[in-house]
Symmetry: C2
Subunit: 718 residues, 2 copies
């Protein structure tokens, strides 16, 4: 049983760890050699150059200015200084609204923490139920709801607080939704002219024996949108071509590597032709690469010709552009023909945001894919332990000894043996959890979504469901989701909240540790950018020849919404669930949100480079998940109190989830359209304004190549 | 325990009853005096006149032609003769598609019945489990699934049949959905020019201090739809005025009544001024009516002036008409401003279909109303027994004797006493069940829907939910929905289908009787039109003076979709649930569907006059409810088989509801938009065609008064 002292020690340890990470970061970021790792955003903006080579060679790599080390925490206030307006300009709306998630966390939990410590902690503390019962308990439990005697009237305090917490959370959520919606609309309105404002993606164009896709599109829109149609761009199936281009690029990297090697060692490097360069006959590496590049180049040219000529490589989809934003808004929001599965129109995503390889999936296939992924995700969520347990049984000591007998003497030595025995069983699980977001991303891609942003949103939903069942409920009920599923099916609808609710106070210390280890340390590690650090220095050493190569070696990364957002949501869930049960958890959550806010603000200003801009389209999902967390917390409190001998509590608490659900419906109705549709009034206003300013603007040539597959574009650059 | 013989006797009895009803009908409809009751549709069409008064006085009232009595069933083939195309022309698409519900029933259940009798009945019959067990059972059970021994491999036949039934039902449903969607599109395309094709209803116009609603609307649409806007019609809050007009009309009826009375008795009739003419001072009835009419007339004129002048009586809503169908389609489908709760646009319902009194409800109020009705309906559904039980305790013998002591000697006499004791407790329940659809309709009206058709659809959904829980599940679990709710909350998710599933075979005879009494007799009563019959003759005797009065006394009625459709759905549910369990029920269902089809086809041809035409917009709801019935049948079979010792059955059957749900999603995606949105291509096609035919048509004057409140219109007629 962990006491408050234990928690204190744990907290101190974690604070020290986090501080060490931050110190390492503060040291590393001051070294000029790391400048491209910790400030890539400024390089991409063209506002920073590589350290001038005018000075001494040493200062090019190491910072010798002692003074700058003294201000090692100076990045923190710097990160907070930039005003929001400027930040939107600098990093886009997506990033700024992503920061608002942390801010929302602070807005929700600061008052809740203060209230909980002012009201609930004294109410819980001034009992001695647990001391009287002589059960094993820690002093943390004295602060929690467990310390209140059965049937006590003191539970009324918790009921009232549950109402206060709910209303406060809803109030904050409503304000935030309104604020973000306004920000989005202002952002869209203030935007400069962009191709996607005029363009609609048309899918499922029906085949026609007499006309090509291009002719068909032109005729259809000339007839049905005669005053507004401008031009269109058909979609090529260039997936194979894109693969070839990618392959050629890789081969060029190898060529650079070997040439660098030659320069240093003055001995011609060799390689093997087989798999991964490990098998097959030995050849001169540079010649091999050159011939390979030539071969791929030929293939590529052929494929390029084929794609351009072959009517089969033209997909039944097209990007149709209109003369005005009004025309595009109308086309995107209306149904074109009586068959709702043909001529589907939707807003074209930003050109950067398009997920090209999914553009060619037909409609029926889409629904089947969705069904398959639905079922697959269900099994992944509830049965993922089975394959892992299977791998674990294979990967035990005897198995390894049998497969690789020469390792036997090594494995048998006691320290290594115990290490393997302690470490191996968890290994498969750990690997699985690390690659899980990627697996989920592949599942979303298979579903056929057509923009990067929607892929990330869909993956985030899946990941949150997984975390909810396997991390949150899994830790409370202590059983795999599979065992839980069994419990849920066999327990009555009444009992499920009770079973989980009763276990909640007991798990408080576990979750406090979790918040520190996963939350605090995770955030501090994020700022160190270990992966980018290692990769950049490797590339810099092996591949970089010119300044342009260095530019390419730099990897600014981006906010991985699909795995980082669901993790934040887990803390919302923990905070809301424990607010009325064990308020001691709340300060730890607060530290997480505050630290996360500062760190991510710094990263967004200096590091990340978003791959696309969706205009905060993810906010409805964020809102929904906080609502889910809120309702879960209400139901679990209901379950917990139903065992405490206060029968009146149930109906009083049952009102809360209904009200919360209704609140969610209201918010969705009120604000969500701002994230989905484009109002005609705004479109018309921008059209009129622009027309007055530049009456002779040549829109057609402006839009000319904007929705060409990137493979064809990069070709022009080459 | 009912045996097959008992069922046979019951069936014979019910067939005789139904035949008697049909004979009475055949007799009554031949009498000229009833012509307006049984053929009002033809009068309204102007294709039939009152029997000529040229002949003998008697033949005006009684049919003396003996020959016509011999062909007393001739209406049946006549009802079936009219081809579908002509029927759409004659009675509208709504009615024809309503008939398709019965047809769908036949299409689904004829093959299922044949298959079930060919496969399942022999499989069930050739066992003697029940005979061996020596339990009390009837020979009906020998035909049902109960007769198969625990763990027998014969259950595989039921599994296979469950799959076959599901696939067949889905196949029929898909075809019907497709067919109805096509019919709707063809109907809409073939329609003549109608005001609603050009008109959009705009609601929640924000208040503006400087402009009136009318100016605001004009400016907004001139700016945002400059090429398409034509005119608009503001909405007046004329609810009070409509009440006055209604009151005046009633008073006129009374005046007619008293004048008729005077003519007959030549003694001036008197009435009392108080409540219902029962209390207060006695006055001359005719003078009283006249002065009342005059008074109301004055009030009405004042109110009319007030409504037209007072800006407060202009609601923030308007019917906006466009130059083309294309313009209206665009406006109805798009979002107008960045605030999605303002300037809400939707297709204007047909002028006849508008539910005027709900046009003025603001947006926030709407969501609150929906919440209130949601909660209220939940309580009505699960707790309706409580007030009824309360009324029942009041309405017992002692209660009556206490309240009305003078009745004591009458009540105490044995025959009356036993009658009251047997009848009274059920009376409150029966009255409740009769008025239930009306209560549900009021609830839907309170929710704020703005068209008659949507009101009917919403009410039908509520009524189906009520029937599902209280009639279907209530009869099986034998307990009020309240007790059921308790069971559901306390039983595990696994157990609920099992509890219900096990009880299903035992209730087969009950439901067979139910089908006969409620279904067969109900349909045969429908054709008799008892209520209309009585009312017409009363009116004819007391009120009618001129032929025009007789025209008004005639009440053709209409299909009451909101209470008749959910009842049909109950038979779908019974058929699907019992198809694999007790196939003996199926022929009874078939008779119901066949009889219903013929009777309603006759009524639609000769009687009903629809109050509006929604173009079969209700089909998605019909489809959804059959899907619900299908999934319920699968889950209940799953529950039943899980107790029969065949563990392998559960996963095999679990696939069915998932597939069915997916099928529903697919259908909704594929066909539903045809019922909700208006494709631009069709709109453009009609516009082009019309423009070519009548290039100089004056649309503005054509649309002039089409969306004026009916009160103002009837005024012009007066």
């Amino acid at each position: 049983m962990a006491t408050i002292k234990d928690i204190g020690v744990g907290a101190a340890f974690n604070i020290v760890t986090a501080t060490i990470f931050l110190l390492i970061f503060a040291f590393l970021r001051l070294q000029p050699i790391n400048d491209r790792i910790f400030f890539p955003k400024w390089y991409l903006k063209g506002m920073r150059d590589s350290p001038s080579s005018a000075g001494a060679a040493v200062t090019k790599y190491v910072n010798l200015n002692v003074r700058s080390y003294l201000k090692f925490l100076s990045w923190m206030p710097a990160a907070l200084k930039m005003p929001e307006e400027e930040l939107i300009e600098h990093a886009g709306l997506d990033s700024v609204v992503y920061l608002r998630i942390y801010l929302t966390g602070l807005k929700i939990f600061v008052p809740i923490t203060i209230l909980a410590f002012a009201v609930l902690v004294p109410v819980n503390w001034t009992n001695d139920t647990l001391d009287d019962l002589k059960v094993v308990h820690s002093d943390i439990d004295n602060l929690s709801i467990s310390n209140i005697p059965h049937g006590s009237k003191r539970f009324i305090a918790h009921l009232v607080m549950a109402y206060v917490f709910t209303f406060w959370t809803c109030y904050v959520l409503k304000n935030e939704y309104e604020r973000v919606a306004t920000m989005r609309l202002r952002f869209l309105a203030s935007e400069k002219r962009r191709p996607d404002q005029f363009t609609v993606l048309v899918r499922n164009i029906p085949p026609d024996p007499d006309e090509s896709v291009s002719e068909l599109v032109e005729h259809f829109f000339l007839v049905n949108h005669p005053d507004h149609y401008l031009k269109h761009q058909t979609v090529y199936n260039a997936n194979k071509l894109a693969d070839l281009v990618e392959k050629k690029k890789k081969m060029r990297n190898w060529l650079d590597y070997y040439q660098n090697k030659l320069e240093r060692k003055s001995k011609r490097p060799t390689t093997k032709t087989g798999f991964l360069g490990c098998f097959g006959s030995e050849v001169d590496a540079i010649d091999h690469c050159k011939s390979e590049i030539e071969k791929i180049g030929k293939e590529e040219a052929e494929e390029r010709k084929k794609v351009m000529k072959d009517p089969k490589s033209i997909m039944p989809a097209a990007f149709v552009s209109f003369r005005s934003r009004w025309g595009a808004a109308v086309c995107a929001q209306t149904q074109q023909t009586s068959n709702p599965t043909l001529w589907l129109t939707e807003w074209a995503p930003e050109p950067r945001d398009v997920y090209w390889s999914n553009l060619s999936i037909p409609f029926v296939s889409l629904t089947v894919r969705r069904l398959i992924i639905g079922v697959a995700f269900f099994f992944l969520n509830f049965f993922y332990v089975i394959p892992i347990a299977f791998v674990q049984t294979l990967a035990n000591l005897e198995g390894i000894e049998k497969a690789l007998p020469f390792l036997k003497p090594l494995i048998e030595s006691p320290p290594i043996k115990s290490f393997i025995q302690g470490f191996l069983p968890g290994l498969a699980l750990k690997i699985f959890l690390i690659v899980l977001p990627t697996i989920l991303m592949y599942m979303s891609q298979f579903e056929g979504l057509i923009s990067q942003s929607s892929l990330e949103r869909r993956t985030a939903s899946k990941y949150f469901i997984f975390l909810f069942f396997n991390v949150f409920l899994g830790s409370i009920v202590t059983g795999s989701a599979l065992e839980q599923l069994d419990t849920y099916l066999h327990a009555s609808a009444n009992d499920i909240p009770r079973i989980i609710g009763v276990a909640i106070p007991m798990k408080a210390t576990f979750f406090i540790t979790y918040v520190m280890v996963d939350g605090w340390a995770g955030v501090s590690l994020e700022i160190l950018r270990i992966r980018a650090f290692v990769l950049y220095h490797l590339k810099n050493f092996f591949l970089v020849k010119t300044e342009k190569d260095r530019e390419e070696a730099m990897d600014p990364g981006s906010i991985c919404f699909y795995w980082s957002e669901p993790r934040i949501q887990l803390y919302f869930l923990l905070g809301l669930v424990y607010a009325a049960v064990t308020p001691l958890l709340l300060p730890f959550i607060l530290v997480f949100f505050a630290l996360g806010y500062v760190v991510y603000r710094h990263q967004i200003i200096n590091v990340y480079h978003q791959r696309y801009e969706s205009g905060a389209q993810f906010w409805p999902n964020v809102h929904l998940r906080i609502i889910v967390a809120l309702i879960a917390s209400q139901l679990l409190l209901l379950g917990l109190l139903s065992t405490k001998g206060l029968e009146e509590a149930t109906p009083v608490l049952l009102v809360l989830p209904i009200l919360t659900f209704w609140f969610h419906k209201y918010c969705t109705h009120r604000y969500k359209p701002a994230f989905v549709r484009n109002p005609l009034q705004e479109a018309m206003r921008k059209d009129t304004l622009e027309h007055a300013r530049e009456p002779n603007f040549d829109l057609k040539s402006y839009l000319a190549d904007s929705y060409l597959h990137p493979v064809f574009k990069s070709d022009h650059v080459d």
